[in-house]
């Protein structure tokens, strides 16, 4: 490598862990790039100088990426910005003559995976109901068109649910288990397509360190295939939650509850328009009133009496039928996952205990 690796979107969950591993393991020379100063906070303990670069602006990014050999795009945020951000990062990577662009896409671009053996270069579903998946698909297609000219090595990685300490895919199920609102769709036999965050970071590092041009699309996942029932049962056991408190919801079709309707409402343009214009004090007051109206009396309703609020994204994820094959990645980059499901679970549970999620009714030990 002729220069450091730029991590664009370093203030996110994966970016922060990648930065932390780079510092603690000394495995990579990295340059964290963030859109605004607030994103520095998450890894401010490490004392690594950040560069400011707005991923929606190629000119701003060019300065931030200057001197970097590889660019890793870990940006997240507003789905409507995904394509434009990807285009900007590609343009800036080209402008600074980077060797490699690693783009983190998502397994969700393929929906519920109805067939086994999904090809790595299978086209994404552009009519997906979820705007995040749809826009990730458009971003993939943009890069697919640029792969052919060979001016830049472009590696698109498609992990599943990135889990581990600090992951929303650990916190969300764990919080629902503790509050008695966790649920499984159908029998819970849907595939929980997990990718442990450390395995992902090492997978990215292997791509960066790969000497040859490996342009293409690659599925990524942990070695073990875990069902949602197994995942929830393992978390429940670690948190001391009785699995009998996990609700079952029908798997034939998604039924929107209040939460689902609120989520849909938030995506409407008038909602966003209003949100951008209301003064902070008005937003705080509305938020409080909604919360008082909707919030359950949690300690009183813990356990089986607390009903689940089924989210559309979770319902669809739980109906995934097949795991994506990861043979192409393994064969190309010669890397095996280092962290097993058991080890990842142990670390995740240690983190959940650290943040106090295992304490019943907040009682100190």
């Amino acid at each position: 490598m002729s220069g450091p690796v730029a991590i664009v979107g370093a203030g996110g969950f994966v970016g922060t862990r990648m930065l932390e591993m780079a510092v603690l393991e000394g495995c990579m020379d990295v340059v964290p790039v963030v859109r605004s100063f607030r994103s520095v906070a998450r890894a401010a303990n490490l004392g690594v100088p950040h560069r400011l670069g707005d991923a929606a602006s190629p000119a701003s990014l060019e300065q931030a990426l200057a001197g970097c050999d590889a660019v890793v795009n870990l940006t997240s945020g507003d789905p409507a910005e995904i394509l434009r951000t990807t285009q900007s990062i590609y343009a800036a990577a080209r402008a600074v003559r980077a060797r490699l662009l690693v783009h983190l896409s998502s397994a969700t671009v393929h929906g519920q995976v109805e067939q086994p053996g999904l090809a790595d270069d299978a086209p994404p579903l552009l009519d997906h109901w979820m705007s995040y998946a749809r826009e990730k698909g458009h971003a993939e297609n943009f890069l697919r068109e640029r792969m052919a000219d060979g001016r830049l090595t472009i590696v698109v990685l498609r992990p599943g649910l990135i889990w581990g300490p600090r992951s929303p895919w650990v916190l969300r199920p764990a919080a629902e288990l503790v509050s008695g609102t966790a649920y499984l769709v159908g029998s819970g036999e849907g595939i929980c397509n997990l990718m442990y965050v450390d395995n992902l970071v090492r997978s990215i590092a292997a791509v960066v360190g790969h000497p040859a041009n490996a342009t293409g699309f690659y599925h990524l996942a942990d070695d073990e295939t875990t069902t949602w029932r197994e995942y929830y049962a393992a978390l429940a056991a670690g948190l001391g939650v009785d699995v009998a408190t996990i609700h079952r919801v029908p798997g034939d079709r998604y039924r929107a509850g209040v939460r689902g309707l609120v989520e849909e409402l938030k995506k409407l343009p008038p909602y966003r328009w209003l949100k951008d214009r209301l003064p902070p004090e008005a937003k705080a007051a509305i938020k409080l009133r909604l919360r008082l109206a909707l919030e359950r009396d949690r300690p009183a309703q813990r356990g089986a009496s607390a009903g689940p609020a089924v989210a559309r994204d979770m319902w669809h994820l739980q109906t995934t039928r097949y795991p994506p094959p990861t043979g192409r990645y393994r064969a190309t980059f010669s890397l095996q996952n280092a962290t097993s499901f058991a080890a990842g679970l142990a670390a995740s549970l240690a983190w959940l205990r650290f943040i106090g999620l295992d304490e019943r009714d907040g009682a100190p030990g």
Binding site: L24, A44, N45, G47, E281, A285, D297, A347, F354, P364
Partner: protein, 380 residues
């Protein structure tokens, strides 16, 4: 001896003699002002309780925009220039914490009273200078510890004083979430300019809140995750108070199971971060009960004026400013004095003085060992 009481008395007499609406200056018009103070000050102006006459910030584009919202206000780039042209009764300091002492001293020099945003200062020396300057100038120094206006605090104090949950109190106070404050610089993330990280930021509020419940603390132990060139994003403190002991956990980098939970010999008490007006409590073995606080605060500056209940943090900022203005107009007490603010600064610095590496139990052993070696307390 000149103390806070004499400063309040002087303020009271001065404004009563002049019979004028209090005139305000704001130093620092960034994110804190925009999020919290702007709305409160507009409401105060609209209700004829105060007038903003000067807005000070080096970012002149920002103050130019604000001049349109505060018709009587003039914009200045620096405090010295502002104090030459304006004589405020009260100066609200919302600049970066490293500047608080300098700006407060300039305000006292100009004869103004001060409401200083938290953290009061990033060093004990600075905080002591501020308290001394207020005394010498016989002016009020109030610290913006907005949580003192939470009705749930009053209710928790009442329950504890009544022995509702017994004695031998133990507590856990967690406050964590991914940092989302729209800062305009990286000052808060450098030790030289921010003084520290999450402890000095969130911890200042949390320590003051616990002081209001339990009295003066002693930091028995403190651990954080800060490396040599960084500031802590997660920390834990073991605290001992008269009659209570417990743990505080704070984070900028991850969500925590937020809230204050107190366990006594005969019951439990819980304060949730978003529910400002109520507490939950129960006797051992009994059912949880929500107690809404009957506490109210003055809404205006009339001697026997209307009272209200703050329900959001933004409401609390409004009530806090009203209470500080009432200290100037009626000689009432401010929510938090400079001396109380100084006690919190001392507690924060005592923590830093005991800093050890935080054990992050999910890290691999080799990673934890490396983090320990890189910890800022281990560097010469």
């Amino acid at each position: 001896m000149a103390g806070p009481e004499s400063g309040r008395d002087e303020a009271f007499h001065s404004l009563r003699v002049r019979r004028m609406m209090p005139q305000l200056m704001v130093i620092g018009c960034g994110a804190v002002f925009d999020q919290y103070y702007r709305g409160a000050l507009k409401a105060l102006e609209a209700r004829g309780m105060a007038q903003v006459l000067a807005l000070v910030d080096p970012d002149t584009r920002r103050t130019a925009g604000l001049e349109r919202q505060f018709r009587s206000a003039r914009a200045f780039a620096a405090p010295a220039e502002a104090f030459e042209r304006a004589t405020p009764d009260l100066t609200i300091i919302a600049s970066p914490p490293g500047w608080h002492a300098e700006h407060a001293l300039a305000a006292f020099d100009a004869g103004s009273h001060v409401l200083c945003e938290k953290p009061m200062a990033i060093s004990v020396e600075d905080a002591e200078r501020m308290v001394a300057a207020a005394r010498a100038a016989r002016r009020v120094l109030a610290i913006g510890m907005t949580r003192r206006m939470y009705p749930c605090l009053a209710e928790a104090r009442a329950l504890l004083a009544a022995g509702a949950i017994g004695d031998g109190l133990r507590f856990v106070y967690r406050e964590g979430g991914v940092y989302g404050w729209p800062v305009g610089t990286d000052f808060p993330f450098r030790r030289a300019t921010g003084g520290g990280g999450v402890l000095i930021d969130k911890g200042t509020h949390v320590l003051d809140f616990l002081c209001a419940l339990f009295g003066e603390p002693v930091a028995a132990a403190y651990a954080d995750d800060g490396h040599t060139d960084g500031v802590e994003t997660t920390c834990e403190i073991a605290l001992v108070f008269p009659g209570a002991r417990g743990k505080v956990q704070l984070s900028w980098s991850q969500p925590l199971a937020n809230g204050l939970h107190i366990t006594g010999s005969v019951g439990q008490l819980t304060l949730h971060p978003w529910r400002l007006d109520a507490v939950r409590w129960r006797r051992n073995g009994g059912a949880w009960e929500t107690r809404v606080s009957p506490a109210t605060w003055p809404c205006d500056l009339r001697p026997n004026g209307r009272r209200g209940v703050p329900r959001t943090y933004e409401d609390c900022v409004y009530y806090q400013i009203v209470q500080v203005l009432r200290a100037l107009t009626h000689g009432e007490a401010v929510p938090v004095t400079g001396e109380q603010g100084l006690a919190v600064v001392r507690a924060v610095q005592a923590c830093y003085g005991k800093a050890t590496p935080l054990r992050l139990s999910w890290l691999a052993e080799a990673e934890q060992a490396r983090a320990d070696a890189l910890h800022w307390s281990r560097q010469t």
